[in-house]
Amino acid sequence: MSALREIEFRDALREAMSEEMRRDKRVFLLGEEVAEYNGAYKVSRGMLEEFGPRRIIDTPISESGFAGLAIGAAMMGLKPVVEFMSWSFSLVAADPILNNAPKMLYMSGGQFGCPVVFRGNDGAGGQLGSTHSWCVEGLFSNVPGVKIAIPSNPYDAKGLLKSSIRGDDPVFFLESERMLGNKGHVPEEEYVIPFGQAKILREGTDCTLASWGRPVHFCMEAAEELQKQGISCEVIDLRTVRPLDIGTVVRSVKKTSNCVVVDQSWSFGSPGSELASQVHRHCFDDLDNYVHRVHTADVPTPYATNLEQEYLPNARKIVEAVRSATYNL
């Protein structure tokens, strides 16, 4: 048997889109620099060559316009994939992505859906400053009618993007610029990953660490460190926040009796606060301590390296939270 195939996160995303475009002519990609530039982050490298300019479409810097255009096309039964160079730029397209896509099916009484996938970089990059570092899940997970995926590794990214494209509902697909070069195992064989199914990355007995996207890696680092200190952590990657697989977390917490939620959006009204609230509700009699949460600091994103690193969730803060939650162990 040959060695496991490892590819970069960006290649996994491209494989997902290319495979779905070969499979279904209704699928096309549009966004800034996706075609001739080969993608601002090289996610769509080579796709123009394979699929041509009718299906890999460069747009001007006009998020509200092309997001709305994609929604109109989706109402006609097409399946657009819209690349936002950064989800931070999606804020100028708030009306189409929040007012049109998630509500069309409901306000048309079931007549028109919006099978469109919006994808791009989310979260702080490297010293991009306040305006380019949005974690939009904090805002957008509040809205019913969309599905939201936040994968942490190439395997999940590919499988979740394929099911996003095949689905009939609008999807916000949140990637991270900091992880696009991360390598991971992605099999040659085709697979898809359904939404709403968390994955247990590491089993443990003392504390449950629940997270999604990039901070999952910080959780794994923290779990390793805590193991040395004699605390056994169970790490759960939620993979999607709408729907949110609360059941897997609840089953874990019933076993560990402690829980730390790690979410890189701001803490006030976030997916992390929702998950913590649900764990309190379902594990009221099982918890030894309240659910601790690690978020980014409640300030705009700073530029200076030392401040930015302290602003984000990191392994040190997670270790501290777990130690606090499990102080009686």
């Binding site: 009484g109 028109f112 709403g196 609360i246």
Partner: protein, 398 residues
């Protein structure tokens, strides 16, 4: 060279009615699209009259129902603008998608929606076109290719580009034949100041998208006279020219003119796959919405426009051509009155949506409402028409 100021002197001097028109839109006689003549069968012109009378009667009943509190929320009636929806929609084909803003009852009826579905929607009943979940501003009709009723000013303009883009993509990329559909996107003059409109026009011009933007220029965005909110108000087509899009000024108070001009514009759009922009001069006789006392304009101005009532104008044309007489008109009016009365009675009798409807149509797929339990309840979706594919993600590995 076009003057930046509103040239109200010029041709309007001396004619009081013209002066009022010039005050509302600017003096635009010199911009008016050149006349075109098309042959129209008498039956077709009678159909226009019927549709316009139907919209007028329907809207009068709407206002009544609103006063009786059968209709809630916002309600914007189309009285005065009937020639625009009827003339434009008659000038395109049924397979051409149509999308509009929140003043949408007229477009729904002109597109062929049964008045009872439109009325029941406003009554918040299950018989409504969107099962009572959309309301006055959100009329959708899949069978008649009406892609909504959109409530946010200008929101429908990128969608209109997307609908036409979709037609072209389906025909040319998927089916490998020349596209022959165009999209009609209606907007009010107030939408011209929204960013979405300018982005949509840029994209339509850039990508050769066959969409026709019809600006229903009634002179006011809510209570703000157009020249108080919009630059180059006397020459809106200048804005389209900036995006390389042909613009036309059309008298929207004369359905024959609307039809003739729109036929020509739609034919050209279909043949060339280039977008078009139409400054359709019209006038709403009632307020912006039901709560508007119209303090921002004069009674004299309203009277001038009332003498140019599009229904009266068509009636005169039809009588002069010997197509219409008193008997014919009376029986048409009676049939319409009966039909709208029945629509009201039908809507009154239609049940309110069941509580299940609160949680259906949130997702096409079988995700139900978020309850905070383990998984979303699997009671949503399934029954709607929006499914585009059968998703099969039961197992991770295929």
């Amino acid at each position: 060279m076009t003057s930046l100021s509103n040239p109200t002197s010029g041709a309007a001097a001396g004619d009081p009615a013209k002066q009022v028109h010039a005050k509302v839109y600017g003096d635009v006689d010199h911009l008016q699209a050149p006349p075109v003549s098309v042959n129209v069968a008498p039956e077709r012109m009678l159909q226009w009259l019927h549709d316009m009378l139907l919209i007028r009667e329907f809207e009068i009943r709407c206002m009544q129902a609103y006063q009786e509190k059968k209709i809630g929320g916002f309600c914007h009636v189309y009285i005065g603008q009937e020639a625009v929806a009827v003339g434009c929609i008659q000038a395109v084909e049924h397979r051409d998608p149509v999308v509009t803003a929140y003043r949408d009852h007229g477009h729904a009826l002109a597109r062929g929606m049964d008045p009872k579905y439109c009325m029941a929607e406003m009554f918040g009943r299950i018989g409504g076109c969107a099962k009572g979940k959309g309301g006055s501003m959100h009329m959708f009709d899949r069978d008649n290719n009406l892609y909504g009723g959109h409530g946010i000013v200008g929101a429908q303009t990128p969608l209109g580009a997307g609908l036409a883009f979709g037609c072209k993509y389906i025909d040319e990329v998927i089916e490998g034949k020349k596209n022959s559909r165009v999209a009609l996107c209606f907007l009010g003059d107030g939408a011209l100041n929204q960013g979405a409109f300018h982005e949509a026009l840029n994209l339509a011009g850039l990508f050769d998208i066959p969409v026709i933007y019809v600006v229903e220029n009634n002179g006011y965005s809510m209570g703000t006279a157009i020249a108080r909110g919009t630059t180059m108000a006397h020459s809106l087509i200048t804005k389209a020219a900036g995006y390389g899009i042909d613009g036309y000024v059309v008298d929207g108070m004369d359905v024959s003119e609307v039809y003739a001009q729109m036929k020509r514009i739609a034919d050209k759009c279909r043949a060339t796959s280039r977008p078009a922009f139409v400054d359709m001069r019209t006038y709403r006789y009632k307020g912006h919405s039901m709560s508007d006392p119209r303090k921002y304009r004069t009674k004299e101005e309203e009277e001038v426009f009332e003498t140019g009532d599009p229904i009266g104008t068509l009636e005169r044309q039809l009588r002069a051509a010997g197509i219409l007489d008193d008997d014919k008109l009376k029986s048409m009016q009676k049939a319409i009155r009966d039909q709208v009365r029945e629509a009201v009675a039908w809507s009154d009798a239609s049940p309110v949506p069941s509580m299940d409807e609160l949680f259906t149509d949130v997702y096409v797929e079988k995700w139900g409402p978020y309850t905070g339990s383990t998984q979303p309840e699997m009671n949503g979706g399934g029954a709607n028409q929006a499914t585009t594919s059968t998703i099969n993600v039961k197992e991770e590995l295929l």
